[in-house]
């Protein structure tokens, strides 16, 4: 084995979350089947699989988005570390969960407000009133999202005047402003052109120094480029989980091999 490609033992890595026996039901329909998966701290984990495999459903369990619709049901646990709290426990307020995790969606969804107010929004609803604190945090978040240099002179402009790629980075800045422990990306570049996609991927690469990231993507090359770990899902099952290098070069399961080589029917 090439020494440069040697990976640390999984046991030596810190965990950010542990998913145990997670099943999820849309009414009577079971969408996730007893998933077990470790999310490692300050690593990027990509979720791949064909449409309907449950990868977005899985991602949305983390911030309890399914609670917004009646008839949905969770089984199992998602324990968040370091405090070891089960995000799915009924006594846990979903709003509290969403305070710790941020999500970025497929299509950029800036609020119809100024660039500044978009980023400051989460801080304001958390009760931050100090203008100087807000200014500092907005600047920090926009820098973190690699957008500051492009917008620093037009912070009061309406966010929708930005390009698609800039809007998506604005949404990332909005998420970063709240200092999330876990960043959830649901196909964050599927509506963007290759240049904007490259800038988001570069950003993900930089963010993983500080934040744990879970990303759902249909683009397998993107999963290969940006992630440390890859999970392949099919029909609600987790088929394979491992280091991205291994999954894309020498997958253990034939199902994974068929999917990533484009043989999946």
């Amino acid at each position: 084995m090439n020494e440069e490609l040697k990976k640390p033992e999984l046991d030596s890595l810190a965990k950010k979350a542990q998913v145990s026996d997670l099943s999820f039901f849309y009414g009577a329909k079971q969408a996730l089947k007893s998933i077990n998966l470790t999310v490692y701290d300050r690593k990027v984990t990509a979720l791949i699989g064909p449409s309907g495999c449950g990868k977005s459903t899985f991602l949305r369990c983390f911030n309890r988005m399914h609670d917004l619709y009646p008839g949905n049901r969770y089984q199992g646990e998602i324990r968040l570390y370091p405090d070891d709290v089960n995000l799915l426990a009924p006594e846990i307020d979903p709003i509290e969960v969403r305070m710790r995790l941020s999500m970025v969606f497929q299509k950029p969804n800036p609020f119809p407000k100024s660039i500044f107010e978009n980023v400051a929004y989460g801080l304001r609803i958390r009760g931050e009133r100090s203008r100087s604190v807000l200014i500092d945090r907005v600047e920090e978040a926009l820098k973190g999202a690699a957008l500051w240099n492009e917008v620093k002179d037009r912070l009061e402009d309406v966010a929708t005047t930005l390009s698609g790629g800039q809007q998506q980075r604005l949404c990332i800045a909005r998420a970063l402003a709240c200092d999330p422990e876990l960043l959830l990306f649901d196909e964050p570049t599927s509506a963007l052109d290759p240049i904007a996609t490259a800038s988001i991927e570069e950003l993900i690469h930089e963010l993983r120094e500080k934040i744990t990231i879970l990303i759902v993507t249909h683009n397998m090359q993107q999963a290969a480029r940006v992630s440390d770990f890859t999970a392949y899902m099919y029909l609600g099952d987790l088929v394979e989980f491992g280091w991205t290098d291994d999954v894309f070069f020498r997958p253990r399961q034939k199902q994974t091999e068929d999917y990533i080589t484009g043989r999946f029917g």
């Binding site: 397998m220 090359q221 290969a224 894309f248 070069f249 020498r250 997958p251 034939k254 091999e257 068929d258 990533i260 080589t261 484009g262 043989r263 999946f264 029917g265």
Partner: protein, 236 residues
């Protein structure tokens, strides 16, 4: 190995095209080597000239197949077994090209040494023909193993190469011994030594191809592993 088809038929066609060109190049190289040995044994310089001229076709195939590999990578971004196949093909064609070079080398030396070889008792030539026959079988088996992703056969090529190296080394020692006994024949004996080594290298390249097949099928680079380690990895 995965034998099911891609959703993209064109991708299947690209990969099948790569594999068949390797087989085509393997066949050409095998013929070149066989003709070179025939020229040496019979002294037919026209055959030797043909081998030398045909080497350009071998080199051309190497360049074309490598170019096709680069295009598949650029256009298809292959992963897993497909990626290993493309990388493996590129390595295998390098081995084949070097076998082609050895055939050309033997053909060139044939023109120089044939009279000396003819004067020889014939023992060296008959040993060499026998060794060359074994090297050809190893090459053919390696190519068959490639076509069928057959690790058993690939490992058998590696096993045979270990014995083969001992036998060619014995033949070379005989020549060195003769150099001491027949100082005037040293120039011819040195050329015969070069030919013996070229045959030994052909078997080595066949063995390298077998190692690349293990890489393609298993995803493990066994180039610097022991035979025992390779057997363990390939036949698990």
């Amino acid at each position: 190995m995965n034998i099911s088809e891609h959703l993209s038929k064109q991708f299947d066609a690209d990969l099948t095209g790569l594999r068949s060109r390797v087989v085509e190049m393997g066949g050409l190289v095998d013929e070149q080597f066989s003709l070179a040995i025939e020229a040496l044994a019979t002294g037919k310089t026209l055959v030797a000239d043909q081998v030398i001229a045909n080497d350009a076709a071998v080199n051309g195939l190497e360049v074309r197949i490598d170019d096709a590999c680069a295009h598949v990578i650029a256009r298809r971004q292959p992963a897993a077994s497909d990626l290993r196949m493309v990388l493996g093909v590129s390595k295998i064609v390098s081995e084949l090209e070097r076998i082609g070079d050895k055939a050309r080398k033997i053909a060139r030396l044939t023109r120089k040494v044939h009279e000396d070889v003819a004067r020889d008792s014939g023992a060296w030539l008959s040993d060499l023909q026998q060794l060359a026959g074994r090297a050809r079988y190893m090459l053919r088996d390696a190519l068959n193993a490639f076509v069928r992703s057959d690790l058993e056969t690939a490992v058998s090529v590696l096993r045979r190469n270990r014995d083969f190296a001992g036998d060619t080394s014995g033949a070379s020692k005989q020549l060195v011994l003769r150099m001491c006994q027949e100082p005037t024949a040293v120039p011819a004996l040195l050329d015969m030594l070069s030919i013996t080594r070229a045959v030994d290298r052909v078997a080595d390249h066949a063995a390298n191809i077998a190692e690349h097949i293990v890489y393609i099928v298993r995803g493990t680079d066994v180039r610097h592993a022991t035979l025992e380690q390779i057997e363990k990895e390939a036949l698990r």
